[in-house]
């Protein structure tokens, strides 16, 4: 595989331009622009990647206006731009929106039916994305604001004095007051076992020094919440804090380019009561190695969606991933009459037209 001693492999620094061509469908604005106009907060929440990806592709060098020469087709649907008054996303309408978009493109252009969508890709930055399996998928990181993070950087020589750091909810009292559902009980277990442990700096507060504190910590907990991933992973990588990932079924972003096993610590949810034993039994050399890998600037850049796009950032990693999947296998192009996807699977409510 790749040689990761001190570096994270060259794959992150590949340039996708010239290696693939992407055609962007022109969908009616009700799928994208109108949704954003209705709620501009979508640009800042953790699912904003879908919007930024669209903008990036429209002006990128890999875009082609000729669909005949395209390797991949992109459908810009903002499925998660449906926020509660508090700003939390409700992805319940997204299956219907997606279906409606696919019906549109399959009826107006011949390219979908040609391969039953195997050379089409979507940006689906939430749980439902895991269900849309097209020849494997590319998992992207959640959106975290790069400018805000860069304004909170502290000098590298500030000694890291916090052993384990976490800020966030342990119980979701609004939706799951008794506990046991939220985070499958894992966050509650972290709190109950370690709230009095001086090595663990964990609480539900929202300090203004959150980013600075992460830069002063050796380990940052990234437990699952209602979904397995969280922006904490991106923040931990950017701030050089070793992520402790407590999520049994998580698929990590850009897993074929970033060696997560080498830079993070994975803990099974059932082992949470043993977390202090697990973390203190890691040899110091391993910790220093992980910190060295995390310090690699291309790793940090790969997790971010800067505006405008920069070399090596998450946009480019997505394109690199798509380029690595080329060329498509011959079997992808179906003969007429063949069907490989069942479009009527799923709950009845999701089949309603959008």
């Amino acid at each position: 595989m790749y040689n990761f001693i001190g570096s994270a492999g060259d794959v992150l620094e590949d340039d996708p331009v010239g290696r693939l061509k992407v055609f962007v469908y022109e969908l009616p604005s009700k799928y994208n622009k109108k949704i954003l106009q209705k709620d501009p907060r979508c640009l800042a929440h953790m699912f904003a990647a879908e919007i930024f990806m669209h903008r990036f592709l429209l002006s990128s060098a890999v875009r082609t206006l000729n669909p005949e020469e395209a390797d991949w087709f992109y459908t810009p649907v903002y499925t998660t731009c449906d926020l509660t008054p508090n700003g939390l996303p409700l992805p319940f309408k997204s299956p219907r929106m997606m279906r409606s978009a696919i019906q549109l493109i399959s009826s107006n252009w011949p390219y979908w039916n040609r391969t039953e969508g195997a050379d089409h890709f979507f940006v689906v930055p939430h749980d439902f994305g895991a269900c849309f399996h097209y020849q494997g998928s590319i998992t992207i990181p959640p959106y975290a604001p790069p400018q805000k993070m860069h304004t909170h950087l502290i000098p590298d020589k500030t000694p890291r004095s916090i052993f384990v750091y976490f800020r966030g909810l342990f119980y979701d009292v609004g939706n799951d007051p008794e506990g046991g559902y939220y985070a499958r009980g894992a966050r509650a277990a972290v709190w109950e076992n370690f709230k009095n442990n001086p090595l663990f700096d964990i609480s539900t507060e929202h300090p203004t020094t959150y980013y600075e504190d992460m830069q002063r910590a050796v380990f940052c907990l990234c437990p699952l919440g209602w979904a397995p991933w969280s922006p904490r992973l991106v923040e931990a990588v950017v701030f050089g804090c070793i992520p402790v990932i407590i999520a049994d079924d998580i698929v990590l972003p850009f897993a074929d380019a970033i060696p997560w096993e080498e830079i993070g610590v994975f803990v099974d949810e059932q082992d949470v009561p043993k977390l202090d034993t697990i973390l203190t039994s890691i040899p110091p050399e391993v910790i220093l190695r992980k910190q060295r890998l995390l310090a690699n600037p291309s790793m940090k850049q790969a997790m971010l969606f800067p505006q405008p796009a920069q070399a090596g950032d998450a946009f480019h990693q997505v394109l690199n991933g798509l380029a690595r999947k080329l060329p498509h296998e011959r079997s992808v192009f179906l003969k007429p009459g063949e069907k490989s996807l069942n479009w009527t699977a799923g709950p009845v409510g999701d089949l309603k037209p959008w």
């Binding site: 119980y171 499958r184 109950e192 009095n196 090595l199 059932q270 039994s281 890691i282």
Partner: protein, 424 residues
């Protein structure tokens, strides 16, 4: 399922009830079925009123469900914060066993190893951290910080040469041990020059021997006088004596003045590593306020701590030095050592300056020409009240600590009454 159909029936029966009344207009024409539903509806309402909406649903769940559902002790209350469900495991086998495997409720779905539904919250029975693990964690943090220092800290650190004038008195042990521990924590090589007024004594030697540092303990053949003014002058001469030792022994490093009653921050030692020839740091001046002032001082606003240190203009160039303004205490300052009045610093305190030891050497190629030779000062010893007197040109002073904005040490003089003894 059954409950929801019951509720739906209730709702639809509600509609059904009103229409027969309206259409027939016959009050006496009640069928037994509609009476039954009316009674049932009324009983539902009453029970909801009594138990609360949520509990009434659970009540009916218990009434109508089969035994296949699991039973939890569901807390009362309608959706407020309630006691979380904890799963404490059964008795441990040995006192050392810290981790248990609790019971998991609800069925497994799908092929993944993730189970859906409510999970127990795993809590181990021994909630306290293991001491060995805590020590291991501290060692890990130390190792990480060492690495950080090696990567981002000072690249080629120089030896720190600390000069401390002292003498035997009540508070000597208190002050000297404080300085000693600060110096022991310094991560660089260190030489400690202790100059003792009145000659070398066993008391001082025993304190200094505990440090584990490389020390040069020399005596100075004058006793400390009773007045503060004279004491300050004598201390200046003692420091010069130490500087002569540096010159004679050709000690290489950075000379800083660690007076025994001062307090030093560890950042000071990191910051002085960046001095080229002679630098100034900001010293916070802690002056005891008079005890008689307590009533009136409440009315005044708390004044900021006076600082002696470099003053810079907007382009970060040194334009002068802030010094202590002693006009406030002009009449009330202490005269004799041990007086109950505030002790004031001199115009410029030695502790705010650091020097490159090569400035003091006799012959050195890079030695700048604006430094006077200490051995050539013989007649003028009395006038050397700060390192600035050794300079022919004071503009070469380097401001340290982000141009003096960081206070890196604090000056304080506290002495007990001359007739007191510690330990008693």
């Amino acid at each position: 399922m059954k409950l929801s159909t019951l509720l739906q029936n209730r709702r639809s029966n509600n509609i059904k009830e009103t229409s027969p009344f309206e259409s027939t207009g016959d009050v006496t024409g009640k069928s037994p079925v509609s009476t039954f539903w009316l009674v049932l509806h009324a009983s539902f309402c009453v029970i909801s009123l009594a138990l609360g909406f949520r509990l009434s649903r659970i009540f009916f769940l218990f009434l109508f469900s089969t035994s296949s559902t699991n039973f939890y002790t569901v807390p009362f209350g309608s959706g407020e914060i309630s006691v979380p469900l904890r799963v404490h495991s059964t008795v441990t086998v040995t006192p050392n066993a810290k981790i248990e495997n609790p019971v998991k409720k609800e069925a497994v779905t799908g092929g993944s190893r993730v189970v859906v539904g409510r999970h127990g919250i795993r809590i181990r029975s021994w909630p306290h951290p293991d001491q060995d693990e805590v020590m291991k964690a501290h060692r890990m943090i130390e190792r990480v910080q060492m690495e950080q220092k090696a990567l981002f800290g000072v690249k080629s650190p120089r030896t720190v040469i600390a000069v401390t004038p002292t003498y035997v008195r009540t508070f000597q042990k208190l002050h000297l041990i404080g300085v000693m521990h600060s110096l022991m924590l310094v991560p660089y090589d260190l030489v400690w020059i202790v100059v003792e007024a009145g000659g070398v004594t066993n008391e001082t030697a025993s304190i200094v021997a505990n440090s584990g540092l490389r020390t040069i303990h020399i005596g100075f053949n004058h006793r400390i006088p009773i007045s503060w003014d004279a004491r300050h002058k004598l201390e200046a001469r003692m420091r010069l004596h130490a500087l002569r030792i540096v010159r004679k022994e050709k000690l290489d490093g950075i000379v800083m003045f660690a007076d025994d009653s001062n307090m030093h921050s560890m950042e000071l030692f990191d910051e002085i590593q960046s001095v080229k020839w002679i630098g100034a740091v900001s010293v916070g001046i802690l002056v005891q306020s008079d005890t008689d002032e307590s009533s009136s001082s409440l009315k005044e606003k708390a004044s900021p701590m006076p600082v002696q240190g470099p003053a810079c203009n907007a382009t970060r160039h040194l334009v002068g030095l802030h010094t202590y303004d002693s006009s406030k205490y002009a009449k009330r300052s202490a005269f004799y050592i041990g007086d109950r009045a505030p002790v004031l610093p001199r115009k410029l305190e030695w502790s705010g300056f650091v020097l490159n030891s090569r400035l003091l050497w006799k012959d050195h190629e890079d030695k700048p020409d604006w430094i006077k030779d200490i051995n050539a000062l013989n007649g003028a010893n009395e006038d050397v009240d700060s390192p600035l007197s050794l300079l022919k040109d004071t503009s070469v002073l380097e401001p340290l600590g982000s141009c003096g904005r960081q206070v890196l040490l604090w000056w304080l003089r506290v002495e007990a009454r001359t007739d007191s003894k510690f330990p008693p």
